[in-house]
């Protein structure tokens, strides 16, 4: 699926900014997860299931996970029907959209 060979560029949903993430989670996202995703968003990431279809996730720690979309993949697999981004047409293939964090898995 990967077509783009350079570094990916992250963009963020307004909700991601609005989420009040604990400082340690936010720090780990900024310093560890985003650099990894920029280098290779396919590595060590998986697709969400059910209502989370069309979005990939990466674990931040044991209890929290970050959901995101790789634009080239979303178009390639016709996942726009799940993601419905307003700016899809103006977004290039090398973008990854950081959508939200699910905090505090109980299990």
């Amino acid at each position: 699926m990967r077509k783009y060979l350079g570094r990916y560029v992250p963009e963020y949903s307004p909700h991601f900014k609005k989420q009040k993430l604990p400082p340690d989670v936010l720090e780990r996202v900024e310093n560890n997860l985003i650099p990894d995703l920029i280098a290779d968003p396919y590595h060590n990431t998986e697709f969400g299931k059910g209502r989370y279809r069309g979005k990939r996730y990466k674990w931040i720690n044991r209890f929290d996970r970050l959901f995101f979309v790789i634009c080239e993949e979303c178009r390639g697999l016709n996942h726009q029907r799940y993601n419905l981004c307003r700016e899809c047409e103006d977004t290039s293939d090398n973008k990854i959209i950081v959508a939200f964090v699910i905090l505090g898995h109980k299990y």
Partner: protein
């Protein structure tokens, strides 16, 4: 004994499955009928030493009733996986069932039980279903009927694992995926984020992290 979180998630998924499986047989699925179908499925599982459903049921105004099931139905409605009236499964319900196919195959005995109960009883009119349930033999000696036992008599409760011949099998990964699909606390985050992508402007890295 209080139900474990794992048992709660399994209950919610089995209920969702029962609802989706029943739609082809009944168009007006009211809560009373749904309560009875889950009761029959759980009873059948217990009779066959299968630990699947874990609801507490007691005798109430219209026969067996579970307050926990009522709560789970509200949660399924809150997550918008099931729509009122008549507990119609939304498109998302099918997505969840489809994406957990592996788990369904692994636990096919439990889903076959639910399917068989739906096949036998879901198409019955509520009156006929209630009549059937009231006439079911009850008690250790089977000398009473469901209709004759007094109000608030406990009827079903979660089977102890050591008594079960088979326990519903779910991996930790599946449980974590199920919990974020079936708990309104998480689906609300998903919904808000998706709405913000649908209507809002994407932000650059510096706008978020400064």
């Amino acid at each position: 004994m209080a139900k474990s979180y794992k048992e709660k998630i399994i209950d919610r998924f089995l209920t969702l499955y029962l609802i989706t499986d029943s739609t082809s047989r009944t168009t007006h699925l009211l809560e009373t009928k749904l309560q009875k179908l889950v009761f029959l499925a759980e009873k059948d599982m217990i009779n066959n030493s299968l630990k699947g459903f874990n609801y507490y049921f007691m005798k109430f105004y219209h026969g067996p009733f579970s307050f926990e099931l009522r709560q789970d139905l509200s949660r399924l409605v809150e997550t918008k996986i099931v729509e009122e009236p008549y507990f119609r499964p939304a498109r998302e319900a099918m997505m969840i069932i489809e994406d957990f196919k592996e788990m369904l195959n692994r636990n096919h005995v439990f889903f076959e039980t639910i399917h068989n109960i739906n096949e036998r009883y879901a198409s019955l009119q509520l009156d006929s279903l209630l009549e059937f349930i009231y006439s079911m033999p009850w008690g250790r000696m089977r000398d009473r009927t469901v209709g004759s036992v007094s109000q608030r008599t406990p009827m079903l409760y979660p089977m102890k694992p050591e008594k079960a011949r088979m326990i519903f099998q779910v991996t930790e990964e599946e449980l974590r995926d199920l919990e974020i699909n079936l708990d309104p606390q998480y689906t609300q985050v998903l919904e808000e984020a998706m709405n913000s992508l649908k209507t809002g402007r994407l932000l650059e890295h510096e706008e978020v992290f400064g």
